[in-house]
């Protein structure tokens, strides 16, 4: 495998949870290579936010997309070339706010791509405004008197939308996170990883998570159990909440056709037109 770092200066705050995510991701790439995934086939997209900076730090192909649109871009990549393994890095503002729609529809379609959600409960890059995952009462620069809204529960939201691999991990639990990411990428269908990511500048949740995070024993036996584990606020369960196989979108749309590689030739196009409209 070629080197995974670019020479872009890393400007995440020292101690930021994103470091753990990047480390786990690199380990997951190695694990995936061991499992026979060609590293060349890995393509990433990212939104705009602190999370998005990972794009510049990783020497991996892909698109540094618009704020909120990384998952739409990712879907276009997969539909054009289903042989690629497409992984999207999203922020909570990005993927559950500005771009919520794409997240819901990627899951609904069971698009065979992976979303890694950097859930730091804030808009890091734009200096700490409340995000869709900020708790009630969160005081950010846009809500100095406290956030009024209740946060989503991403795990159950993804259940509702129809994701087929749904998981949660924590940026400090590198091995756990590596495993969950590896599983997500290997999964056929839409896979979602909520990553608890402390933001030391605007939402320092290290203590909270260190106290409350529990690794689950296995995949919950049914949805009701999964929902109650996912929503538990006293113990924050991490692990895989759902892992299921159902038909995936691009196979139903394209069969075995690979649009990017199997383009129709010029001559063939001319012939078809001439036979349609002689």
């Amino acid at each position: 495998m070629h080197k995974l770092d670019t020479n872009k200066e890393n400007t995440w705050c020292p101690g930021c949870g994103n470091f753990g995510i990047m480390n786990a991701f690199k380990k997951a790439l190695a694990a995936l290579t061991n499992k026979g995934i060609d590293p060349k086939s890995i393509v990433i997209t990212s939104g705009i936010g602190c999370h998005g900076k990972i794009f510049d730090y990783l020497n991996v192909s892909g698109i540094y997309s618009l704020h909120g649109r990384a998952l739409a871009t990712a879907q276009g990549i997969k539909l054009a070339n289903p042989e690629l393994n497409v992984i999207c890095f999203g922020g909570d503002g990005d993927s559950l706010g500005e771009g919520l729609e794409h997240t819901m529809f990627a899951a609904k379609r069971n698009m065979d791509i992976t979303l890694l959600l950097h859930n730091n409960g804030t808009y890091g890059l734009t200096t700490g405004q409340a995000s869709p995952m900020s708790l009630q009462g969160y005081r950010g620069i846009s809500t100095p008197q406290g956030n009024i809204e209740r946060p989503f529960t991403p795990i159950t939201l993804m259940y509702e939308a129809g994701a087929t691999y749904i998981s949660r991990s924590y940026s400090t639990k590198i091995d756990h996170l590596t495993e969950v990411i590896t599983g997500a990428v290997l999964h056929k269908g839409f896979s979602f990883v909520e990553i608890l990511q402390p933001c030391i500048s605007y939402n320092n949740t290290y203590d909270l998570y260190n106290q409350k995070v529990r690794i689950m024993d296995g995949v919950p036996s049914n949805e009701t159990v999964a929902y109650s584990l996912a929503r538990n606020k006293d113990d924050i369960h991490i692990g895989i909440f759902k892992d299921e196989s159902i038909p995936i979108y691009h196979e139903q749309l394209l069969g075995s056709h690979i649009p990017a590689n199997e383009r129709i030739t010029r001559n063939h196009r001319c012939e078809i037109i001439k036979s349609m409209y002689p």
Partner: protein
């Protein structure tokens, strides 16, 4: 020249009937132009379709008709006064009995023949057949061929209508058939782009662009093209950029409202240098506007899509055949120069139908500059002509596209010197684009009169039809390329008396022409009620303008 107008309710199959009549007229060796006037209503309300036919090409329809068929009372009241002298009006006598024309109980005849669903529009075909003197048995063949569901009932119903009409035939000799097929503008745009290499179409339906999606979806097996109806226009265009990244020739399309939503990503296409064909088919605005009518209100909106500084190409087809070749040409330009391009058109061209001969060998192929040295690959390599070679994943080399300003590697930069270098690189494409345009037709010119009439897009169709009725001799000058704008080609026309015709209330196109060519106009004809001009009326208005200034 002969015009048929069929009027009734939405959901009665009027458009379909008009298409069948157009086919019939084509079979008689005639050329046709079809316009469908409808509102956003699925059943009920009021719709009508007009087919004008002649022995030579027809470019627009006429207000007054030689054959008017009214399925209901409202249709009679709205259209009966459009009948030409010696014309025939047939109305549905189940809706009442009226002063003019022949009443036939179209509804009762229908109820006799069919169980639900009824198909009243078949009667319009029968009436038209009778009028042009087609035999009953030819009529039956056409009906059976064109209305496959409930074919037997359709034939019976058509025959009964035909018979009850009696002898109404005019002299309408069958001429030798000419080649060409009847297309809508949107079909031609879709086919043109496809001929040039289209692999994927991402869209969210919006009239009058939707039929591109519908057509490509319907033809997906024949053409091997894929279509995605995404959750929104934002999804569509961002997906499209993803597909382009992999090397797929890709287009998106919408009307103004949906295009407005695609602007951020349009700008992104400029930044990441994604070759993307964007089809903007206009209707009256602002906002939801008037959903099913025509307008040219989006010229400057199209020219200035997206925030930030970046080059783009905008062009508008002035006729049906150009819709085919231009769509291909634009897709090719997009790929040659790696930038977003806009094909700007209007409901009148998108949805109207006309005969056209399409020759795929006339369409360019959308090729790109491919990377040769993978080992040293940099997505945004700084080059003299601004074009950086393309490489698609999977690849040994890392391929980074970036919505931030970036280094040649595709990694983000905030450095002054790098920002300038990359902007300059992109801007250098402009020279190549302008040079490239020399190989294409940048203006359409029709007629050769003293007075110049400027127009663009489907307004040119209306003008060409009006031209047939003008005493004064005019030259129609229509820019096909609106950005970059080619001044050279028309410099020789600069000191002429000039008129401008466009479909909006602000005179945007006049402003463009004035700012580019420093021309003043003796008159400007603006229409902004969503409707097209009657060719005779347009001719007369031009005549009056010319004479006033003579």
């Amino acid at each position: 020249m002969f015009t048929v107008l069929i009027a009734g309710k939405a959901g009665e199959g009027i458009k379909k009937a008009a298409q069948v009549i157009a086919d019939m007229l084509k079979f008689y060796g005639r050329f046709t132009f079809q316009l469908d006037d409808y509102e956003s209503t699925i059943r009920g309300g009021h719709n009508f379709s007009v087919v004008t036919t002649d022995t030579s090409e027809v470019y627009s329809v006429y207000n007054s008709a030689d054959l008017i068929i009214c399925f209901d009372k409202r249709s009679y009241h709205l259209h009966s006064d459009k009948l030409n002298p010696n014309g025939l009006l047939v109305y549905n006598s189940d809706e009442g009995s009226f002063e003019r024309g022949i009443g036939i109980p179209l509804t009762s005849l229908m109820k006799d023949v069919y169980n639900q669903p009824y198909n009243v529009s078949v009667s319009a075909v029968a009436i038209s057949a009778a009028r042009i003197g087609m035999t009953g048995s030819n009529l039956k063949d056409i009906i059976a061929h064109s209305y496959k569901r409930d074919a037997t009932q359709n034939c019976i119903y058509a025959s009964r209508v035909y018979d009850s009409l009696g002898e109404v035939a005019i002299d309408f000799p069958k001429l030798p058939c000419h080649s060409g097929h009847i297309f809508s503008g949107n079909q031609l745009i879709a086919l043109g782009a496809w001929t040039a290499g289209l692999d994927y179409y991402f869209s969210y339906p919006m009239t009058p662009a939707s039929s591109i999606l519908h057509y490509l979806a319907a033809k997906q097996n024949t053409l091997g093209v894929h279509t995605i109806h995404a959750e929104s226009e934002l999804a569509a265009i961002n997906m499209a950029i993803g597909a382009v990244y992999c090397g797929c020739r890709t287009a998106v399309g919408s009307s103004g409202g949906g295009f407005a939503l695609m602007q951020e990503a349009f700008s992104m296409a400029g930044m990441v240098e994604a070759p993307l064909l964007c089809i903007l088919s206009s209707r009256p605005g602002p906002a939801t506007g008037v959903s099913t009518y025509t307008a040219q209100e989006d010229l400057y909106f199209a020219l200035h899509q997206g925030h930030g500084d970046f080059s783009r190409i905008v062009a508008s087809p002035d006729c049906m055949e150009r819709a085919y070749t231009l769509a291909g040409e634009l897709l090719a330009m997009a790929w040659k120069f790696q930038l977003p391009v806009i094909l700007l058109t209007e409901k009148h061209l998108s949805e109207s139908m006309m005969q056209a001969i399409i020759d795929p060998t006339q369409v360019m192929e959308a090729n790109h500059l491919a990377a040769t040295d993978e080992a040293e690959y940099n997505r945004y390599e700084i080059t003299d002509n601004g074009i950086s070679p393309l490489l698609f994943p999977p690849s040994e080399a890392v391929i980074k596209w970036n919505s931030h300003e970036h280094l040649s590697s595709g990694v983000r930069t905030d450095e002054a010197i790098d920002i300038v270098a990359m902007k300059d690189k992109r801007n250098r494409k402009d020279t190549g684009i302008i040079a490239s345009l020399k190989e294409f037709q940048t203006w359409a010119v029709y007629g050769e009169g003293d007075v110049i009439v400027f127009a663009y897009g489907s307004t040119v169709l209306e003008l060409r039809e009006a031209l047939k009725h003008l005493d004064s001799r005019i030259t129609i000058l229509a820019p096909i390329y609106l950005e970059p704008f080619d001044i050279k080609t028309v410099e020789m026309f600069q000191n002429r008396r000039t008129i401008i015709v466009e479909h909006n209330s602000k005179g945007d196109f006049a402003f463009l022409i004035r700012s580019k060519l420093q021309i003043d106009f003796i008159g400007s004809i603006l229409r902004y009620d969503g409707r097209v001009f009657d060719p005779l009326e347009l001719a007369q208005r031009i005549e009056v303008m010319i004479n006033a200034q003579a």
